[in-house]
């Protein structure tokens, strides 16, 4: 028997690592991957709660999150390719057109 709190704490660990990676990474692809890590962490807590309440709705929610994450990854990576075409860099510090 694993306490549900352990699953939620694991989810919190993964989520905060995603937040830290999002803030300290400078490569735009790494930043995008840390967003995926945060989505996965939240999915884990959805599944843990679904299991705790013996309900299917949490798993359905995770299914929709996966669909939206797939769409988001496709569009986001296309945007990254477009940015690389015009700016020739992947460093977010050099993509500062709105900062001048």
């Amino acid at each position: 028997m694993v306490p549900t709190a352990y699953y939620l704490i694991l989810s919190a660990i993964l989520f905060s690592m995603g937040v830290a990676a999002f803030l300290i990474k400078r490569n735009i692809i790494s930043i995008f991957m840390s967003i995926e890590l945060m989505l996965n962490a939240v999915n884990l807590s959805f599944v843990a709660f679904a299991h705790m309440w013996h309900q299917i709705q949490g798993q359905i929610f995770v299914f929709f999150v996966m669909v939206v994450a797939a769409a988001e990854a496709a569009v986001g990576l296309a945007i990254i390719i477009a940015i690389f075409r015009t700016r020739r860099t992947l460093n977010v510090d050099q993509i500062n057109l709105l900062n001048s």
Binding site: M1, V2, P3, T4, A5, Y6, Y7, L8, I9, L10, A12, F15, S16, M17, G18, V19, A20, F22, L23, I24, K25, R26, N27, I29, S30, M33, E36, L37, N40, N43, L44, V47, A50, H51, M52, Q55, I56, Q57, Q59, I60, V62, F63, M66, V67, V68, A69, A70, E72, A73, A74, V75, A78, I79, I80, I81, A82, R85, L90, N91, D93
Partner: protein, 168 residues
């Protein structure tokens, strides 16, 4: 046995997440993320979500991460360099993430009694098995949202094609 499974794969997920955080090269981060997703798939299975475990492996580590790896190789992404602009992010990032983690852990541990414990495998209410239950809900009560997500995927594909197209 459940606790051992949780500790092994939860620890693997945390280690791979730390590796993602510390690696400088995007391809190393991507491979660590694959490890995180695979261990999460095992945890989903142990929580009785067999369909989601399969979908996690197929969709996340099979499709999304392959897309990431392709883009990393296509753009020839090298090691990221540290710049002065990231110092503020360092100062805010680690304490902020630690604060989020401490708050969430405190709440979960203080509510541990109310949250209860979970045995291995699922036992959903009135269900034959996990996939039957999911498909029944998805194709009866949630049919409209399900169809809308297919339109969303279609729009995303078209948007990706338009955005990544070479301009003449």
């Amino acid at each position: 046995m459940e606790l051992a499974l949780f500790l092994i794969f939860g620890g693997l997920a945390v280690l791979a997440g730390l590796n993602l955080l510390l690696q400088r090269h995007p391809i190393h981060s991507a491979l660590s993320l694959v490890v995180v997703m695979m261990s999460l798939a095992v945890l989903y299975w142990s929580l009785g979500a067999e369909f989601l475990a399969a979908a996690q492996v197929i969709v996340y580590s099979g499709a999304i991460m392959v897309l990431f790896t392709f883009v990393i190789m296509l753009l020839n992404a090298g090691e990221e360099e540290r710049t002065t602009g990231s110092r503020a992010a360092y100062l805010a990032g680690f304490p902020g993430a630690a604060a989020i983690f401490c708050l969430l852990t405190f709440v979960f541990l203080s509510e541990r009694k109310a949250l209860g414990a979970s045995p291995l495998g699922g036992y959903l209410d009135n269900s034959v098995n996990n996939i039957t239950e999911i498909s029944t809900t998805l194709f009866t009560r949630l049919l409209l949202p399900f169809e809308v997500t297919s339109i969303l995927i279609l729009v995303a594909i078209l948007g990706a094609v338009v955005l990544a197209r070479k301009e003449h």
